[in-house]
Subunit: 339 residues, 2 copies
């Protein structure tokens, strides 16, 4: 007859159920789970058995509410189809998992507006920290992150004005370096081919341009597209380059997908790489080592960026002050057959 304002509840087994069955208080069950050494062994075992038998699964929403700590962090990447980020995700995930944090992953599709929407969503989940890709965010996203007062790490590039701290490498410098590598090899007419020109690709373009200027070479051999990067797009870009500038020495493709597509197109057109034309890519994705000829490219520390970002976030989460605001993990020009 206990009727009167009955609520549904989830119908699942709760901490209170376990407590009642074992004949202890809720807090003791809670302790047995979270701080086992604060509960006598006998009791702990008894509680554990009851938990197993009843398939009790703690409700984290309740826990988060009570402790105002969700033990989750948000990780925002531009895209899953971009293999660059799969390793970043792996690095973040491994570190966070080992510290008992759950990583909530979102992909913005290279849209800062979608990123803003995701930040809002994840903030609703009361994430304890946020890892973002890049340094380009909407005003509102910045404001929300500020108000929420959560630690933020930006990765993959070194922001001038980091929201919190940033972990990555100098994309401009990388673009410059690899262009200088080509120049040192004696190339003069060096093109830049880009697609999906996100902020990082634009920085590489800037590096190319600076290197060309510095060497007194022309930066006219430039074709970029805002469309998505793909093997096909790489093939198309190559076709356009050889048609417009038949006497080109080399082309710097802003990523390995494009460069690999260009290599395939060269095979079809019987353009001998690197004898007639040098091709370089960016990122050192697995495909770079496998094509024929293999692809000269820039090796980027993606996995390490993920790990380090997570480690730094963890420090902030534990209340430590950041020592370095901009953590540079470097890059390396990887000479192979194509250039």
């Amino acid at each position: 007859m206990s009727s009167q304002r009955r609520r549904k509840g989830s119908g699942r087994v709760t901490l209170a159920d376990i407590a009642a069955k074992v004949g202890v208080s809720k807090i003791t069950v809670s302790r047995a789970i979270r701080t086992p050494d604060k509960v006598s062994e006998a009791l702990r075992l008894k509680i554990q058995r009851c938990i197993d038998e009843n398939g009790y699964i703690p409700n984290r929403a309740a826990g988060a509410l009570a402790s105002s700590q969700s033990k989750t962090v948000a990780l925002l990447v531009p895209s899953f189809s971009n293999a660059v980020f799969t390793e970043v995700v792996k690095g973040v995930d491994e570190v966070m998992l080992s510290e008992g944090y759950q990583v909530l992953i979102g992909h913005s599709g290279y849209s800062t507006l979608e990123e803003e929407r995701l930040i809002e969503t994840f903030l609703q989940f009361a994430v304890d920290g946020v890892i973002l890709s890049g340094s380009q965010h909407t005003e509102r996203a910045r404001r929300m992150l500020g108000q929420a007062n959560v630690p933020v790490v930006e990765m993959m590039e070194l922001a001038d004005n980091p929201l919190g701290i940033c972990v990555g490498f100098d994309q401009v410098e990388a673009g410059r370096s690899v262009t200088e590598y080509l120049i040192e090899k004696g190339h003069k007419r060096i093109g830049f081919a880009g697609a999906r020109m996100d902020h990082r690709a634009q920085q590489r373009l800037r590096g190319w341009r600076e290197a060309m200027w510095k060497a007194g070479l022309s930066d006219e051999y430039l074709i970029t597209s805002q469309a998505a990067s793909s093997y096909d797009m790489g093939a198309n870009l190559l076709a356009e380059f050889v048609q417009r500038w038949p006497d080109l020495d080399a082309i710097f493709f802003c990523n390995d997908d494009l460069a690999a597509g260009a290599i395939f197109e060269c095979q079809r057109r019987n353009i001998r790489v690197p004898h007639e034309l040098s091709v370089i890519g960016f990122n050192n994705l697995p495909i770079a080592a496998s094509t024929s000829p293999s692809l000269t490219t820039v090796a980027t520390p993606r996995y390490e960026v993920g790990r380090r970002s997570a480690q730094e976030l963890l420090k902030l989460l534990q209340g430590e002050e950041a020592e370095e605001l901009r953590i540079d993990l470097g890059f390396e020009v990887k000479g192979r057959e194509s250039a």
Copy 2:
């Protein structure tokens, strides 16, 4: 003063804060957000302004707790680096987002034990539904899902005994089909090359074997590895095949990554594909259309599998009964240059 059992709280702006500032009750603010038409326009506007000004972000943990629905679903994939699943994720995400659900993504690294761990974690988040890859799960995972009483969709293969419903295509049939395609082309010595032999790859292998038997052909040309799939592995497998069986007609690689790697190796070895050797892959990833020669493969409806899985889960979430338990989305042999 008012001291006595004070708790920390999150320090963030809450619904109560907004209610107090506007001078209404909490539930009215709640309604203004969730069911705007149940609040007078004037009040709604006033509340909305206050929310914006104060940067209020609803706490979903609290909402989930109160309503015992989280408006989130879990999506478990074996791997992010496998491009097959990036499209599945995209399909699921698009559909779920459009219905106001947030998708929590986890990757099991092809381990059913890791999958079990993820299921437990996501169940702690009180997800409303779960989408799994494949039909292989641990006993404990099955039990947890059963007890949690959430709708489950398994995707990518057609389980004999689905946990809930399943959405995919017949992997055995696909393996058989593409082998028959080769047989019809007049090939007799057809090899099967596999890596990371997950359950789906094993089913394709079975299809190959069945087709070979049916045609009275030998199934001796078989090499598989439990190691991860990669371009390199494809190249290695090709090398091993041509060494062991120099007179082979064709090789069915269990996925496009392997097949592409094999194509690259053929280029290096000057093995003319398809004249000397036919090569086929599986999945029709973007690379299949781009290599030279382009890759004959099996087009699989990955994106559609994602969308449909989400749609079916949505139906279950709304309490509808499942009409079909096994939803077959088919596949298509995609003839190109390599076979």
